[in-house]
């Protein structure tokens, strides 16, 4: 989950998010380099250290054409690499459905049995000591760790959006449409997210909690719920 006044990304819990964080750091360095150069040139200009009697500036024209082109390539290549990585065909182990309602999520696990449950936010007055306000839910979405998961996201009434920042997932939940996304959790843990499309009075109060556990605990949990 995010800490208060947190500026940066949460630690990545999926391979795609790791790549996105790396790319962000790279892009930020490029942006910092450009800003530094501009600031430097601006300072020189203000101190009247730059020559202003140039008529034919072939060399500098060449430099400030080639250099930006190189910068753009440096940005585009990793960006496209990640874009294509996100679209890779991965045969999932499990298909889960998340259905947005006003104002809770329903999770369905129907590969074998018809397992379905609602996930409501835990009201603050019922929150146990030490738990996270406005983030905890009564029933978490449990997934086996290190397994490719296919998520099918839809909604029952209005637009919602299913987002879990640490997994690098945000997908709109649209009534009448099934949106597919996928992720792999690299480690066990509890991952939080919040509804990311305005959906009425309690839009801020329908969080998402994904619990990633080893396969045997997942199987035990799903057997318990199916019985």
């Amino acid at each position: 989950m995010a800490n208060h006044s947190q500026l940066g990304f949460q630690d990545a819990s999926s391979p795609i998010m790791e790549e996105l964080v790396e790319f962000h750091d790279h892009a930020l360095m490029v942006a910092l380099a450009i800003c530094s150069l501009v600031l430097y040139l601006l300072t020189l200009m203000l101190m009247e250290k730059l020559s202003s009697n140039t008529v034919d500036a072939q060399e500098i024209e060449l430099i400030w054409t080639i250099l930006p082109a190189i910068v753009l390539v440096l940005l585009a290549l990793p960006s496209l690499q990640i874009l294509y990585m996100m679209d890779e065909v991965n045969e999932p182990d499990l298909t889960l459905k998340a259905i947005g309602h006003q104002w809770y999520w329903t999770y369905e696990y129907t590969d074998f049995k018809d397992l379905s449950f609602d996930s409501y936010m835990t009201p603050t007055m019922d929150l146990p000591q030490g738990h996270f306000r406005l983030l905890e839910v009564d029933h978490r979405m449990v997934v086996p760790m290190e397994s490719p998961i296919r998520m099918i996201i839809t909604a029952d009434d209005v637009l919602h959006s299913w987002a879990v920042p640490t997994l690098g997932v945000k997908t709109d939940a649209i009534p009448g449409r099934l949106n597919q996304t996928s992720f792999i959790t690299t480690r066990p843990g509890v991952f939080y997210g919040q509804c990311s499309e305005i959906c009425g009075a309690n839009h801020s109060f329908m969080p998402i909690v994904v619990e990633s556990t080893p396969l045997k605990y997942f199987e035990a949990w799903s057997s318990l719920l199916s019985s």
Binding site: V89, E91, L94, T95, I99, T154, L178, N179, T181
Partner: protein, 128 residues
């Protein structure tokens, strides 16, 4: 393309089991004999094996993008068409279970319930 043998020996081919996008059509002129008979038992075994090892709906190249609505709809239709066709021929409907498993995995339960009700009422918008 998948061949499915009926009790009468005529061959019904097609289906999405191999990723093809045709639904069932009869091979013309197959009559009471077919040179696919030898393959049919092997195919039926393949389907059973696939069903036994079913984990979840596999990648379907007909629906490669984010929007999987049509995938759900198509498999729901294919299952009911398969059941109807097999019942009409008096054949084993076990291979149809593939479509059932796939639509069960992908389609929200509420959608399936609604469509089942429409079918019972006779107001289902799809052609089965």
């Amino acid at each position: 393309m998948v061949c499915l043998c009926t009790a009468s020996g005529a061959v019904i081919s097609g289906g999405a089991l191999g990723g093809a996008s045709r639904w069932f059509r009869r091979e013309s002129g197959s009559g009471g004999e077919s040179h696919f008979d030898g393959n049919c038992d092997a195919m039926a075994e393949d389907i059973r094996t696939k069903l036994e090892h079913y984990k979840t709906a596999p990648f379907d190249s007909r629906f490669p993008n984010q929007n999987q609505t049509r995938n759900c709809w198509q498999n729901y239709l294919d299952f009911h068409r398969c059941e109807k066709a097999m019942a009409a021929k008096g054949a084993d409907a076990t291979p149809c279970q593939w479509y059932y498993r796939v639509y069960k995995s992908i389609c929200p339960m509420s959608w399936v319930t609604t469509w089942d009700e429409y079918r019972e009422e006779g107001t289902f918008p799809g052609k089965i």
